[in-house]
Symmetry: C2
Subunit: 145 residues, 2 copies
């Protein structure tokens, strides 16, 4: 019926300190304790932690997960908000991909410029790292919105 934090960790693949951290951050409810002050969890905590873990794997930041959990507690609310969170995350993922693809292109160009020139003095790689004007594109990190 009840199980320890170690059991919960084993069943979900989430590490023990991380579980305690989620509790402190309010993503997991504080569970009952034994007389000796140890946490004892139930099936519903397993579900909740599985939800959190999947959201984290999908890259959602913790405030977004908090919002989704709150939403899950109010079954009558419209699910527009959940959809908005998913869409926002999708957009952010796409922006990060776009940025990384530019980096990929520049880094390809930079590594290709190494003709085995042997010493640092005439090293195109070092030159390329130093000089943005050699780049085809802008590629500065996006100011996170």
């Amino acid at each position: 019926m009840d199980f320890s934090i170690g059991e919960l960790a084993k069943r979900t693949g989430v590490k023990v300190p991380t579980i305690r951290y989620y509790e402190k951050e309010g993503l997991l409810d504080a569970p009952l304790r034994t007389q000796g002050n140890q946490r004892r969890y139930r099936a519903q905590d397993l579900d909740r932690l599985g939800f959190i873990r999947h959201c984290r794997d999908l890259g959602l930041p913790m405030p977004a997960i908090r919002d989704l959990i709150d939403l899950g507690q109010h079954p009558d609310k419209p699910c527009r908000e959940a959809d908005r969170i998913a869409a926002t995350q999708l957009q952010s993922v796409r922006e990060r991909i776009a940025h990384l693809r530019k980096l990929e292109a520049e880094l390809e160009r930079i590594t290709a410029s190494c003709k085995g020139g042997h010493t640092v003095t005439d090293c195109n790689v070092l030159k390329a790292f130093g000089d943005h004007s050699l780049c085809r594109d802008e590629h500065a990190a996006p100011t996170k919105a």
Copy 2:
């Protein structure tokens, strides 16, 4: 000839506290100071900071930048190391892209599952966030090597 930290910031687009941080971390040499203890920079510092900034824009972690700078100070060394750093970074960028593309696919699927079902009770988006078995692929974050 010499200029202040604010000037250096303006010319490179790197913020003043960040410049001080780079100095503390050993990426920038400690510059000369005025009698009143204010930093005064020269052209070479501008070049160095430009190099650092471009590397950061390309996503290089600070230890890699440190290595490149060290390398630049020893013109006789082979540039193999610089090439290796670039190649490593390229690989890491490619891995991150691969991961994000999986997330993108799952998030597309999740957002598409919202048929405007109106309330949370029958919200496919929330279900999808909670249940990895609905996903087509593995998409957990890669354990960073």
